[in-house]
Symmetry: C4
Subunit: 127 residues, 4 copies
Amino acid sequence: MPAHRSGAASLILFVASLAVLDAEGGREGADIGSFGDALWWALTTVTTVGYGDRFPVTGTGRAVAAGLMLSGIALIGVVTATFASWLIEKVQEVEDAAQTATRRDIEALAEEVAQLRRTLEASQVRD
Amino acid sequence: MPAHRSGAASLILFVASLAVLDAEGGREGADIGSFGDALWWALTTVTTVGYGDRFPVTGTGRAVAAGLMLSGIALIGVVTATFASWLIEKVQEVEDAAQTATRRDIEALAEEVAQLRRTLEASQVRD
Amino acid sequence: MPAHRSGAASLILFVASLAVLDAEGGREGADIGSFGDALWWALTTVTTVGYGDRFPVTGTGRAVAAGLMLSGIALIGVVTATFASWLIEKVQEVEDAAQTATRRDIEALAEEVAQLRRTLEASQVRD
Amino acid sequence: MPAHRSGAASLILFVASLAVLDAEGGREGADIGSFGDALWWALTTVTTVGYGDRFPVTGTGRAVAAGLMLSGIALIGVVTATFASWLIEKVQEVEDAAQTATRRDIEALAEEVAQLRRTLEASQVRD
């Protein structure tokens, strides 16, 4: 994954961890009590692993979780599309090479016809 | 994701939450007791996160869950295919541009041949 | 998903449920005690949801689980590739139409050149 | 999946299992106490199933888990892209056949023009 995407993913994890810690920290029944716990929970959520050792119990915490879960689905999509894009670019190179060869053939043929016309015109002048 | 797909996904979540709440609410051993809990459970299920803090215990609830899980797999497929489609469309634009250039070359060649014929016919008239 | 793939997926779920029930049923600490529980567990595993309300504790049960988990990864791949394939086929139709148009142009041009030669040959006969 | 990728995936699982066992084994509150447990946990993590029956509680163990979770996302991407690549290669074969046919048409046209020139040159010699 390019550096700027890793950076964006890290930023989402960081912000979500802070937000869930703010919403859940110290609440009764909550088990996300430190930034380390919050980051660990965010990582298990965004990768859709979801051990369930920690999870939010407040409305705000669940809303943050919803954002992370959807980001996780998007993450899978982006990673897979990046692989696929790399494959498609290789296919495209082959196709582009074939297209370029075809266009070179057509250009050579156009030059052939142009010369033919010049020959014919020279012949008419001589007539 | 386009608006109508987000709407469809929201509708599936809403209907599944109501259905699971109807099946599970108040049953012994069940931990899905409110619409908020049901919606939270539906979201953890459709994104395949599956914390396991809440899960259905009745046959009907499990059937609703099965539908949500399969919707989740489809969701990942659709999101990934949407990214891939966007990439493929960019590739197609490049290919289409190459095709258009090739056809323009062929049209230029056809014009060249047409002129050749006019030259030749002029030559025959003079004969 | 085509019917034969749904059938194959159902068969894998059915066989895995029977195998895990045989391995786990009645063991101490095991919580997969009926076919319904086994099928429910198999579904949460193959879709990678993994609530953790039920999980195998024996070596054989874990081996069955490993097979189901890898089938789940394959399932996501097949569903996504099916969507992508449908998109790629639409792209292919556009590309094929462009290719066909190009070939028609080239055939028309070849006919034009052939007529030109016949005209020239007729002209030489008259000379 | 090709053999060398299965081998790489097995190696990652093996190394991660050893690393998490070293970090977690014997710690208070840890439930990963044998290599079998560690391997089982690694498998539930890399496939993003995440039952939560076992999970790391130390910083080092969580860091190993983070690596496995990201490997899991990459695994889904690679498996899906492998299916997609297989589909794309079939599309490419059709496109390549069309390209080859187009180039054959152009070669036939070039031969036609070459013959036209020979006819014309023969006509000029006779003049």
